[in-house]
Symmetry: C2
Subunit: 431 residues, 2 copies
Amino acid sequence: MAAPIRFGIVGFGNIGSGVVDIFTRNGPLINARLPRPLQLVRMADLDLTTKRPVPVPKGVEFIDDANRVLQGDDIDIVIELVGGLKPARQFVETALRAKKHVVTANKALLAHCGAELWNLAAENGVSLLCEAAVGGGIPCIRALQQGLAANEFTSVRGILNGTCNYILTAMAQTGAAYGDALADAKRLGYAEPDPTFDVEGFDTAHKIAILASLAFGQDIRFDDVHVEGISGVRADDLADAKENGLALKLVATAQRDDATSPVEVHVHPTLLPRGSGLGSVDGVINAVEFVGNAVGTVMLTGPGAGPAPTASAVLSDVMNLAQQIADGGLSLDSRLRVPVGVKSLCTFEDVETVHRVRARLTGDAAAPSQVRDAFAAEKVGVRELSESGHRVLTLITERAPEKRVQAVLKRLEALPCIAEAPASLRLEEKP
Amino acid sequence: MAAPIRFGIVGFGNIGSGVVDIFTRNGPLINARLPRPLQLVRMADLDLTTKRPVPVPKGVEFIDDANRVLQGDDIDIVIELVGGLKPARQFVETALRAKKHVVTANKALLAHCGAELWNLAAENGVSLLCEAAVGGGIPCIRALQQGLAANEFTSVRGILNGTCNYILTAMAQTGAAYGDALADAKRLGYAEPDPTFDVEGFDTAHKIAILASLAFGQDIRFDDVHVEGISGVRADDLADAKENGLALKLVATAQRDDATSPVEVHVHPTLLPRGSGLGSVDGVINAVEFVGNAVGTVMLTGPGAGPAPTASAVLSDVMNLAQQIADGGLSLDSRLRVPVGVKSLCTFEDVETVHRVRARLTGDAAAPSQVRDAFAAEKVGVRELSESGHRVLTLITERAPEKRVQAVLKRLEALPCIAEAPASLRLEEKP
């Protein structure tokens, strides 16, 4: 039998347990699909005592010294599942410098210093793969870099956080208020006790930064992403959406007009046609949509989190590396190239958006014309305008720079004929 | 600059023109993503005179002798775009024996003799890639073999023919009869003048045979697939589906209970919950859904045909090979392994199905009990039963072997209380 390709894991938490579990269950199948078998040699975690959902497999060392995985002479591939920036960054750097291939599920790490790490990998002739960092089990990184590699991308969008999508779906389906839907999500284990990272859009922003970097070959980081979360979404936003054939989703977008245009990267609640691609993704499911100049629009949906789906992604990366190692290749995928510091971005205030605005009016007969004047003053066109019997004015803007729309909204708030601060949500009508 | 990796194309028709067009437009980008540039050296077609949508690029030889592509000393990768079995099979065999990597979009070829060809490739130390053969631009083969490679698959399903999905969607949305929707599809270029290959499900059957082979590692061919097309679908089937929150799609299925069970492979019109994954795929769009024991359910949607999406898939295969060649690797992907002649299949009559049956009754008061007796005689349970004011009896069976349901339908047809032959469609309720 061919000599095994040996891997180690740093971080034996929930995801680590998932990887061990799937590798134990599917090991024979996985090895049958590879020219040389995979062998889990060693796992490291500072906590050696807490009982995990799965036991340490027989013959596998379990130690508290990460370096013996990161630099072990008998290790070909390191799986980093520590998460966060410290000490994960140092761990990954140590492994890459020791010329180990690294597989990581760490979105924060890549969204903060991915370009440096990918370059460090290239300098050392090894690979740093990260399928599990975006979209959980959805093979979106592979799709971007391999199956769709011949495309010039114009857009990558996604519903990348199951907690947010669960909450928004529940609000749409049951009419629940945000707080109640969040409490429900916590009870079901779909939201953390402190849900800030998810509901404020930070998790989603990390993921779109990674996708944007790879799709556009630019060094786009978390700090480059304009982020708005879902905690301000109100039950009547969803009621209004539903009545009008729309869905409200936390959409991450990275797009540019063409290869010479700056890239816009943002995360915010977005109205989409119900039944459109992203608009029909409900519940904890994640989705990633690519638009390429050859393929058109391709969308992938699936479980965006959880130990088993994440393990599916981690182990598929390990298998890719094993195949390359067995083939004797360099394992250096140039399709993943993000030059440090190189980017061309469009600030969010210059991004052109369409807003759907709802404002409750006082009885003042001059109200409609005052509202119209506010838009005219900022040169924002209004495409549709209607008033309900309850004096709620609903309008849809023409596409206009975000800063001008915000200026209109400020004007509206100040108008005496507006009974309460207007609600405004961005609308994407393309299919 | 690194020496180029050279490829040739056999077959300069619609798809060939698409490949040339995309390679011309995206060439600089494609080469920037590869360690060594790609060079199109030579194209062969028997017809050298017909004007194509794109010209032969400067510096590219255009000849009528296929062998100078298939065996050319200056060719590393051959793209086969001839289609059909003859002479495509011989072309691919010649190229593989000459130790050229081959990329093909030829579903018929792979569904008839894929196992032999993949094995011939392995014997010669080269690869035979086929992303474009299934799902057009959707990177589903790559997902199956790479991004989801760590999974034991239990099911692969798909909506794999845009013509059928366009027709069924149009019938659902407009209430049109099959013939009118087909005429419309022809007018719009979504159906061929002779649409048999598409509407009778043969195209879909070819594609599911390929997916099934790769997902289950078995030699599953076109002849192993139970096929029913859409030409018998009636407007009132779609009206009934719509009224009941269902969508009717031509669904290809390959599934098994576990790794020891036989595989069922079939193509037939299927009722699905509207808003479920496959149930919400409308128009000419294709979809492929994988269920793996680690990842759960992952679905990919996108354009299933057309020169540019197909070129996206073909060129991404070429890029994968170029990367491997540049790395110095064997380029031999063991994750693609289909042993000739090895299969374990379940015949369609033993497949367990759920049927939704509608039957128009005469006024006979004994009708409902006679119908019930027909089901009881074949030991097929009935889960739901309702009768409309128009004497239309609608019922849903329990899951039962297909042959027993067919026996029930025969009995029903013979009953004097049944006014016309009952309509029956298979129903899949899993999400």
